[in-house]
């Protein structure tokens, strides 16, 4: 109903969010440019190459869907870990539910505060990595986010950060439409871990810009919200310097629509990057991982490991690209996307892409989809394990290659337990 008021869907997109608190000149210039960028590229549509499998209509709609808030009885994910907790409620930072914004080895502030100040390094990252990630593929939801997001955190890691920074996204309102934007700089030799969990809003749009300097390490572990009909459009834009490490893992169970874009530019040599994800969907569920890794330096390694378990008509999408630029010799690229379809109604749509301009590289990619292996199932059952339990063991086993990408064993175990919990609840 609201859309009729606007000349085009892009204006509607920009009009549905309130303007954020005004920042410094540099920040406002960045926001203004992002607004122009959004208008220039237009809203995402089914005719766009990277939106062919995922319908962006519900993400574009002026109205926010009414999404029931999931009441969880179990201990929240990552609860057992010592962490610096930062909470957002319906996309708004909550000081009451957060720890003090300070910690060993890091400088941290809210996006609002950082954009009002003159933080030199932040102006080199905020909106900059997002802009870099707009070529060659337009990502209008990311530009929209830069233009209008007023909430988020700005973190600079200067040394080994003792505790992970845990970003928790809670919900109170059933029709919240949130934009969250994080800006992160990992300085040379610093080591930072970020944990994210929760649905955060009925419709959530996040951008995380991560600039990892030479020799820096960044670990990211995310458990997306389990509220059944929530929508999420997330982005990670990373720039990786020489001899740096980058790891990101996402667990997704439930959610009507999830689109996770990860754009990584490897600009310094001897760097290692890994992006992985495990998702489980039952019924009204669409999960889309769209990954773009650019190698523009020698002797770097990148891995994409994505596993999806789908049933009752759930859909999984994987669009993964490795671009190796001229001169990025000795690149080692690995990409695997696999789906386990538990019935005939579920779908897996995969588009692996390699574009290689260097002549001394090793890139491997694979994509498979299939049912639970009957031989393995029989083997387990012949030892007395009932069918449903045996199938769940197979599900968890199938996802394990992705879980193994998580470096911290305790966190990996937590993720495994969540997977098994989901499988138990959705048994049969």
């Amino acid at each position: 109903m609201g859309e009729a008021k606007f000349d085009n869907p892009t204006e509607a997109l920009l009009a549905r969010h309130n303007a954020p608190r005004k920042g410094s000149d540099w920040a406002e210039r960045t926001r203004h440019a992002a607004r122009e960028r959004t208008l220039g590229m237009g809203a995402a549509g089914r005719r766009d190459e990277y939106w062919r499998y995922t319908n962006p209509t519900s993400l574009n709609a002026f109205e926010t869907p009414d999404v029931e808030i999931l009441q969880l009885e179990e201990v929240p994910v990552f609860d057992g870990v010592e962490k610096l907790l930062i909470t957002f409620v319906d996309g708004v930072y909550s000081p009451e539910l957060s720890d003090d914004l300070s910690g060993e080895g890091l400088e941290i502030s809210t996006l609002e505060d950082a954009l009002s100040a003159d933080i030199h390094w932040a102006s080199d990252v905020f909106g900059v990595l997002e802009t870099n990630g707009q070529s060659p593929v337009n990502r209008p939801f990311a530009a929209l986010n830069t233009a209008l997001a007023g909430q988020g955190v700005v973190i600079r890691a200067t040394g080994k950060v003792s505790k992970p920074v845990a970003l928790r996204y809670c919900r109170e309102n059933t029709t919240s439409d949130a934009l969250i934007h994080h800006v992160i700089r990992v300085e040379s030799g610093a080591d930072l871990s970020i944990l994210e969990n929760g649905a955060g809003a009925s419709r959530l749009n996040t951008v995380m810009e991560v600039d990892v300097a030479d020799g820096g390490s960044f670990h990211h572990l995310r458990a997306q919200g389990r509220d059944h009909t929530r929508l999420a459009m997330t982005h990670i834009f990373a720039r990786l310097g020489a001899e740096s490490h980058f790891k990101s893992f996402t667990l997704t169970v439930n959610g009507r629509l999830t689109r996770n874009d990860v754009v990584i530019d490897i600009v310094g040599g001897n760097t290692k990057a890994s992006v992985a994800g495990a998702c489980l969907g039952d019924g009204d569920f669409l999960h889309d991982d769209t990954i773009f890794i650019t190698h523009d330096a020698v002797n770097c390694e990148s891995r994409q490991v994505f596993k999806k378990v789908l049933k009752n008509g759930a859909t999984g999408v994987f669009q993964g690209k490795i671009l190796v630029k001229t001169g990025a010799q000795k690149t080692d690229g690995y990409q695997i996307s696999q789906a386990l379809l538990l019935d005939d109604d579920s779908n897996f749509l995969a588009k692996p892409e390699l574009e290689i301009y260097a002549d001394d590289v090793a890139c491997s990619h694979g994509s498979t989809c299939g049912a639970v292996d009957e031989n393995s199932l029989f083997y387990l059952m012949s030892r007395g394990i009932p069918r449903a339990e045996a199938q769940n063991m197979m599900i968890v086993a199938f996802l394990d290659e992705a879980i193994q990408e998580i470096e911290n064993e305790a966190l990996a175990e937590d993720i495994r337990a969540r997977l098994l919990g989901w499988a138990e609840r959705h048994k049969g």
Binding site: S376, F378, Y379, I385, A390, M394, V396
Partner: protein
Amino acid sequence: MFEIKNLKASLADEDKQILKGMNLSIGAGEVHAIMGPNGSGKSTMSYVAAGKGGYVVDEGEVLLNGANLLDMEPDERAAAGLFLAFQYPVEIPGVGNMTFLRTAVNAQRKMRGEEELNAAQFLKIVREKAKSLKIDADMLRRPVNVGFSGGEKKRNEILQMAMLEPKMCILDETDSGLDVDAMKLVAEGVNALRDGERSFLVITHYQRLLDHIKPDFVHIMADGKIIKTGGPELALEVENNGYADLLNEVA
């Protein structure tokens, strides 16, 4: 104890009958061996008894202590006391051997209404049994059968058998792919499980295994049926003369 009565079974995909009226009766504590030429239906018999998919039972019964196994799911057959040592143990990446063993042991105990073993109890038992089969901690930690050598896979089968303490064990060509030492080790594992109550059916091509696991009876199977039954000497006869004479005898 274990009885196969007039068992007829076909491949589900092709209209081809493999078992054509098989009869076999094994008493408590007995060891029987089945030998026979390739394609005679030995492995099919073991799969049909254990409940593998892809076969249709046309007629007959497989009874364990009077209960018809053919009416049960594979896991229920296991809980009822049947164990099949696979000719080709399946590799299951991502499932730890130890987790698998404990899940299996406890699933069976649960189904039988017994108390489940806790982690400490289980660990104590598994370590003890693994040691006698020369299975080290690393093999227990690794994913089920992944990266195991042929001998390790077969020893792992025997370990599962030892942990699950079945009433009736079918060993499908457990000696295939084993060197002499590995075969001895496996045979010792089996012999250690002989307690006068537990019964065994050993499917093999070679008499050699029967030097180590001494059978009470030897059956010759051909074209989906048992065609001759005798004592251990029958295995020696096959070893020396092959199956031709036996097959002619029947024909």
